[in-house]
């Protein structure tokens, strides 16, 4: 079965090729078959490989398939080779499985679009590139996938290219992430310089032998890789592109900007965990970045009016949790939250898409309302997704995955009470803005008539994802609830086990869990009061000068765009503009000008007037004689 691994990324690429070359001729039905089918078969193969992996793991718990030699120059040898272990299997599964449902959903969502086949071509290309990212056995192939998904993200954000605002958002996404990519590229060169290879497993084996814990190079290399990770995963300080990326079609937001691509940073850090463990400083930075991002994005999420932007900020915030988990060394907790997040966030985006489709492409939540009755399936599944995002206790998967992170933020080796407090407070904000969205959208008065009632192609993906958003959490239960660790046991072969070093204390864990659970419920109640029962409290507050200012500040994503515009973009454009004429050329323009001046000067001496010549001879004679006399 393992030998079919190469098909998993190849099929989506094949789908892309067919759609890109013949998409127009195929028509919508055939395009849909190719586009959805390629991902479907990939997902099936992945599941079969996964079953095989669970029943009889390959030797050394990893299967490597070398396809061909990519680059071979002296010591610089890179293969196109796939590496399947527990970690990449989880990612491959999420990408193909969630990806398949999103593709199916897109058939209906994009049905009326004139560029139907182009959409599926890009989406297939994305899945292929994303699979290479997680399956690549060396950092260069990972980087290929990394840039490939960036390209698809660019193409899909700017999918409706006739509106220049979309093009702007696409460009912003590509360039901001490329800032991170540049750091990451330098990191790769540094790793090659240190180890003479870019093969991930070789680096991870060699690193502890070459570098001691706290080695400077280890710190620099990991921070550079972190640069790439924060760019791709929209973490501080490169988080600014993701909210604008919502300009793309909603299935794109679900697949790329929620479930898979934006978690590539999490994958990268988890994948390179061996060198991060040698750099405690970098681990701490990762944790701080995560904690700060989850709070800042949470605040920004509080006042958004566009339903997709709420979800975008919640994505940034939830990935902040994953970074926090990585930073404290709770590797499998991060991956667990990644998986659960992929389920519920894809679900929420698809739900939001169904709403947007039903509301004449309106995205402002405050113009909607009362949709619970009109769109029952969408409502219930959206509610499940929201519950999972808000981590409502016991019943939702999000509770289990987030609870693990919150607890480890305190109890793990790199954790402390401040990180824990940030995570708990973040959970409270999350619950609040999530249910603000639910109440505003689904309850109250219906304001816009429903223009599109979803069919099975939308309903089935919603229901499947809702199932996983509810029950996906039961594969990993905390120590206080039976300590069922199926998921982390599975990952043990690829990632080090989580150890609660500092505070092995059951009563503290209970305290943490109960507090989080209570806060989640309180936040929902607060949202209910403020946005359904007594909305005047909010309006009264935002009518005050301070309230208004705060609302605007949060709405703008805490002013980062404003700051970067002044700090980077303007000086950059200024430098480019100033030298538009290429000042070096002035010298070369000056040369002929000067020779022409000489020409004029000399031709002036040849005037044809005899008295001038005599004057010249006389002056010359005087000068010559003077020189002779003086010398």
């Amino acid at each position: 079965m393992y030998d079919f691994l190469w098909l998993v990324p190849t099929l989506p690429f094949l789908g892309f090729l067919i759609l890109a070359l013949f998409g127009k001729k195929l028509g919508k039905t055939l395009s849909a078959f190719v586009g959805v089918g390629s991902i479907g078969i990939s997902a099936l193969i992945t599941i079969l490989i996964g079953i095989r992996f669970l029943s009889s793991p390959p030797e050394g718990d990893a299967f490597v398939q070398t396809l061909w030699t990519w680059i071979a120059v002296d010591r610089f040898n890179v293969n196109i080779a796939l590496h399947l272990d527990a970690l990449s299997l989880v990612f491959t599964f999420v990408i193909t499985f969630v990806g398949f449902w999103i593709h199916l959903y897109s058939v209906e969502y994009m049905a009326d679009d004139e560029s139907f086949s182009r959409f599926f071509a890009y989406m297939n290309l994305f899945v292929g590139a994303m699979l290479l990212l997680v399956l690549g056995d060396n950092l260069l192939l990972l980087y290929l996938g990394w840039e490939g998904v960036g390209l698809c993200s660019y193409l899909l954000i700017g999918f409706w290219y006739k509106d220049s605002a979309n093009g702007y958002a696409a460009r912003k996404a590509f360039i901001v992430t490329r800032v991170g990519d540049a750091a990451m590229a330098i990191g790769l060169f540094l790793l090659f310089y240190s180890f003479g290879t870019l093969n991930i497993q070789e680096i991870l084996t060699q690193a502890p032998q070459t570098w001691s814990v706290g080695n400077n190079l280890a710190v620099i290399a990991t921070l550079l890789l972190l640069g790439g990770a924060v760019g791709k995963s929209a973490q501080l300080p490169l988080q600014v592109w993701l909210p604008d990326a919502m300009a793309g079609p909603t299935p794109t937001s679900a697949l790329i900007h929620a479930a898979t691509m934006v978690t590539a940073g999490v994958y990268l850090i988890a994948r390179m965990h061996g060198i991060y463990e040698l750099a405690p400083v970098s681990m701490f930075v990762v944790a701080i970045v995560g904690a700060a991002t989850l709070l800042i994005a949470g605040f920004a999420g509080l006042t958004q009016v566009d339903i997709k932007r709420v979800l975008a900020y919640s994505t940034i915030s939830q990935i902040g949790y994953m970074f926090l988990a990585l930073g404290v060394g709770a590797w499998s907790a991060a991956i667990f939250h990644f998986m659960i997040h992929a389920f519920f966030k894809a679900l929420l985006f698809l739900g939001a898409g169904a709403i947007i489709l039903a509301q004449h492409h309106e995205q402002n939540m405050f113009k909607m309302g009362g949709l619970a009755k009109a769109l029952p399936v969408t409502f219930w599944t959206f509610l499940i997704g929201s519950g999972s995002l808000a981590a409502l206790p016991l019943v939702t998967a999000g509770f289990y995955s987030k609870d693990a992170i919150i607890w480890f933020a305190w109890s793990a080796e790199g954790g402390n009470i401040y990180l824990w407090a940030a995570a708990v407070f973040g959970a409270f904000i999350t619950g609040f803005y999530t249910f603000r969205m639910v109440f505003v959208t689904f309850f109250g008065q219906q304001k816009i008539d429903v223009s599109h009632f979803p069919k099975w192609t939308i309903h089935v993906p919603l229901i499947v994802l809702a199932f996983f958003a509810l029950f996906g959490g039961f594969i990993e239960l905390p120590g206080t609830m039976g300590h069922f660790t199926l998921f982390s046991d599975f990952l043990k072969s690829a990632l080090p086990a989580m150890e609660e070093v500092a505070h092995e204390n059951v009563s503290l864990e209970y305290f943490s869990q109960i507090l989080t659970a209570v806060l989640a419920l309180v936040s929902v109640y607060l949202a209910y009061v403020l946005y359904l029962k007594k909305p005047q409290i909010v309006t009264n507050f935002t009518d005050t000068g301070f309230g208004k200012g705060l609302q605007q500040f949060f709405l703008s994503g805490l002013g980062f765009d404003w700051l970067y515009e002044r700090l980077f973009i303007r000086p950059y454009v200024w430098i480019a503009r100033t030298n538009k004429r290429d000042f070096i050329d002035l010298f070369y323009v000056f040369l002929p000008w000067m020779s022409r001046q000489f020409h004029y000067a000399f031709s002036y001496t040849q005037s044809g007037k005899v008295r001038r010549y005599i004057l010249g001879i006389a002056l010359g004679a005087v000068v010559s004689i003077t020189i002779v006399v003086i010398l």
């Binding site: 990519w70 120059v73 610089f76 660019y154 006739k162």
Partner: protein, 501 residues
């Protein structure tokens, strides 16, 4: 006659045939030219099949392939000495390919057709001759043969400011030629043929320092000769601050000539450094390597920043060439395997990518009759295929993995990082600038609302696609499977590195 001589001289014989065709029969001129440029391409491809990857060339005649070596002007020991190795053969092959495609791209030339195609064919022989010559005198002749047709092709068939551009190109290049001439003569009189004891133009003999006279072994003399030769080549590359002829020449030259100019002529500068400067003065090359690396980084960043501000699409592409040639300089300044092979790969890769970009600009210009970036907008609506090909080419230019530009850049960086850390970091920052100017251009030309002026603009034609698609396929193919190219380079580059002390 040897195969390599055939490849080199078929175009110039073709030029004679073209001149015999009656003037009014323009179609025949074009078809004959296309057929004639196709033959060297086929022969070169055949040679690729015959190429022995283990033979290194560089300074060892026995290791060259397809060699022809006999006396030409015995009185001055001038020889007809040609051959290829891993350094020159990829350039020969690329030249034959781009020349053929450029002929196809010249289809709508309608002014003095015979003259244009005859000069073009002469130009091709000049270019091929430069790459195959192993005798400095022969090299110099071909170098000059190349210059003249170029001057007329820009000066007669160019745009509105063609005369200014042609003169500027000519003066710049002439300066380079003069410097090269000085160095050539200095070498001629100071290198002794160990067999005959006479002076020699044989490059391979010049590379053996035991043949150098006492004067030529002087430290200062060598430095000065190296610098003179370097400037001669630097003008061609072009290296900052000798680059300002390039934007003017490109903007005024007809599409096909821009393709040749950027695709092949620029590479002659770096080829010359590899072929002559490095092996003849390896000691000086090492001493000045850091300067070369600095110049490379300046090229990368300066070219990118100036490209960012350009309003003329062709000028933007021209400055992007300045930027991308910087990678060649940076890579070759390292004397590492990865860096040197990367530099050569960048020459090959940039030749294809920039050719695509200039062809694309030509397609637009033929329809809109201007090149103002801000004067377009939304062309993807009316020209989706064109926009697709253009996007591919632009992303190849910004070094997207999966295409050749990425392979070249990564190899260069891997090589550079071990030698010049700070410079590498600066150069990597260049990729951000590159991304920004390329995406901004794509936005303004193809995306957004369709400019109502171009309501009726026609989609790219089959002939135009024919010039672009082969390059697009090669850029991707060699991007995911570059081994065939790297195999060509390997032995020669290893050998060249071993020559460097």
């Amino acid at each position: 006659m040897g195969l390599l001589s055939l490849v080199t001289f078929i175009p110039v014989f073709g030029a004679l045939i073209v001149l015999l065709i009656p003037r009014q029969n323009e179609k025949a001129v074009k078809i004959v030219s296309a057929v004639i440029t196709f033959i060297p391409f086929v022969l070169a491809t055949y040679m690729w099949g015959q190429f022995n990857y283990t033979m290194s060339g560089i300074n060892n005649e026995a290791q060259f392939q397809f060699v022809q070596h006999f006396k030409w002007i015995p009185a001055y020991n001038i020889e007809y000495f040609i051959g290829v190795d891993g350094l020159s053969f990829p350039m020969v092959w690329l030249t034959t390919l781009l020349s053929f495609l450029a002929i196809i791209a010249s289809w709508n030339i309608n002014k003095a057709v015979k003259g244009y195609f005859a000069l073009f064919l002469l130009l091709e022989t000049g270019m091929l001759g430069v790459f195959v010559s192993l005798d400095f005198f022969l090299f110099y002749i071909f170098w000059e043969v190349m210059l003249l047709p170029m001057y007329f092709l820009i000066g007669i068939w160019g745009g509105p400011r063609r005369e200014y551009a042609a003169i500027k190109f000519f003066l710049y290049t002439l300066l380079g030629s003069v410097l090269m001439l000085i160095v050539m003569l200095a070498l001629y009189f100071n290198v002794k043929d160990p067999v005959t004891g006479g002076h020699t133009f044989n490059m391979l003999l010049m590379m053996d320092q035991s043949n150098h006279s006492g004067w030529l072994l002087g430290v200062d003399v060598r430095l000065w000769l190296y610098i003179l030769l370097f400037i001669g080549f630097a003008i061609k590359v072009p290296i900052f601050p000798f680059h300002t002829w390039l934007p003017d020449a490109h903007v005024e030259a007809p599409t096909a000539i821009s393709v040749i100019l950027a695709g092949i002529l620029l590479k002659m500068g770096t080829y010359g450094l590899f072929r002559l400067s490095y092996p003849i003065f390896p000691d000086v090359a090492v001493k000045t390597a850091y300067m070369l690396a600095v110049l490379g980084v300046i090229n990368i960043l300066y070219g990118a920043f100036v490209a960012m501000a350009q309003k003329d699409l062709k000028k933007m592409v021209a400055y992007s060439s300045v930027s991308h040639m910087g990678f060649v300089l940076l890579g070759m300044s390292t004397f590492t395997d990865a860096g040197m092979n990367g530099a050569l790969f960048q020459m090959f890769s940039h030749g294809m990518i920039t050719a695509m970009l200039f062809l694309l600009v030509g397609v637009i210009y033929d329809r809109a009759h201007h090149r103002e970036i801000d004067g377009f907008g939304g062309l993807a609506v009316k020209m989706p295929i064109f926009a697709g090909v253009a996007t591919l080419a632009f992303f190849a230019a910004l070094g997207l993995p999966g295409m050749t530009g990425f392979i070249a850049e990564v190899m260069v960086f891997i090589g550079t990082f071990s030698v010049y850390r700070t410079l590498t970091i600066l150069a990597v920052l260049g990729i951000i600038v590159t991304a920004s100017y390329i995406l901004w251009t794509v936005q303004r030309v193809f995306l957004g609302k369709l400019n109502p002026k171009y309501e009726n603009i026609s989609e790219i034609s089959g002939r135009e696609l024919f010039t672009l698609v082969p390059l697009g396929i090669l850029v991707i193919l060699f991007g995911i499977y570059p081994i065939p190219i790297l195999n060509l380079f390997r032995a020669s580059m290893t050998h060249l590195i071993n020559l460097i002390p």
